[in-house]
């Protein structure tokens, strides 16, 4: 099994939650499927009895979510966020339990989480042979400008891959917020129309990425109670990864739409 700094993913999630006492985050890797990694993460979040009552399901557009029977002891006070990623025979599942009464900042609760992992062996050649016009279909001018100042082509590729990973994680976090929180206001068609160009990742200060949403994804985020998306990249020699949190207000009757 190849090396993966799983602790970096978990601590990234905790940092994004500003170590909020009401939020518990765990990340677990698995050599099997994404669902196995998610189950392992949930084992750490739930008590052994409650874990047996939690089921991992998928929305119609492939997003995992947790279905819990009503007799789980703490389900009334906690909401659960999950995300998973898989690449190169490595799966990571991440889960966050948000206990609203214990959260210090109630208007900035995590309402969606996203995770991504990309090994360079999978995506390292992604930009090879792409024209400037084609690159502009994947990245904004600001993103390309930030990468282009690097003198080394390998560094340029690494920066762009990290941006892709952060876009993916951000996209997943907003999608989860949409599913839990705002789905009734919109149709799935609007989420389907969103794409990676709707997420701009800028990193003016090193290791302090900022997410700016636009287009369809911005509309989805607004309708889902998301008021900001925070992200952290994990950059290693053989892979890049990212964890993103969609922060906002939990809508009581947002509802599970499946």
């Amino acid at each position: 099994m190849c090396f993966l700094d799983i602790d970096a993913f978990e601590s990234a999630a905790k940092t994004l939650c500003m170590n909020n006492a009401g939020v518990e985050c765990v990340a677990v890797r698995s050599a099997e499927k994404s669902v196995d990694a998610l189950k392992a993460a949930l084992r750490r979040i739930f008590s052994p009895q409650d874990f047996l009552k939690a089921k991992i399901k998928k929305t119609s557009y492939g997003l995992p979510f947790i279905s819990i029977s009503n007799n789980v002891s703490d389900v009334q006070s906690r909401s659960f966020l999950v995300s998973a990623t898989y690449d190169h025979c490595v799966a990571i599942g991440i889960a966050a339990a948000v206990c609203e009464p214990y959260c210090s900042v109630r208007h900035q609760l995590p309402i969606g989480i996203g995770i991504d992992l990309m090994f360079h062996s999978t995506a390292g050649q992604l930009f090879t042979g792409c024209s400037a016009g084609e690159m502009e279909q994947m990245f904004t001018k600001q993103e390309l400008q930030e990468a282009s100042v690097q003198p080394d082509q390998n560094k340029v590729t690494q920066i762009l891959l990290a941006k892709v990973s952060m876009k993916e994680a951000a996209f997943k976090s907003v999608s989860e917020a949409y599913f839990h929180n705002g789905g009734r206001k919109m149709t799935d068609e609007e989420l389907i129309r969103a794409d990676f160009m709707d997420v701009e990742v800028t990193e003016i200060q090193p290791d302090q990425p900022k997410i700016k949403l636009s287009g369809y994804l911005c509309r989805v985020a607004e309708a889902s109670g998301v008021n900001r998306v925070t992200v952290t990249a994990i950059k290693r020699k053989s892979y890049v990864g990212a964890v993103a949190l969609a922060m906002g207000v939990r809508i009581e009757d947002g509802g599970n739409r499946d």
């Binding site: 995506a123 993916e168 990676f196």
Partner: protein, 83 residues
């Protein structure tokens, strides 16, 4: 101006060959995105970018990944480009 289905097919196959580093002669309509190509969203992003640039359209990743096979994707492209 309408683009023929043959041109769309050729354009898609060239793009698939480029993104997945395949010989274009091996790209056929029955190839499945998930099972045969193992498509990840990062590949979907590049595929969309190249197709959008080539055909001057605005295709989202989700609409591409919803297609099971390359043949389905040609039909979807036909609707998007020629509608």
């Amino acid at each position: 101006m309408a683009v023929s289905k043959q041109e769309l097919e050729q354009g898609l196959y060239e793009t698939i060959a480029k993104v997945f580093n395949k010989d274009i002669s091996t790209v056929v309509p029955t190839i499945r995105f998930k099972e045969d190509l193992g498509i990840k969203s990062v590949h979907g992003m590049k595929l969309c970018a190249l197709l959008n640039y080539k055909f001057n359209i605005k295709l989202s990743i989700a609409s591409l990944i919803e297609c099971a096979t390359l043949g389905d994707a040609v039909n979807m492209l036909d609707q998007v480009v020629n509608s």
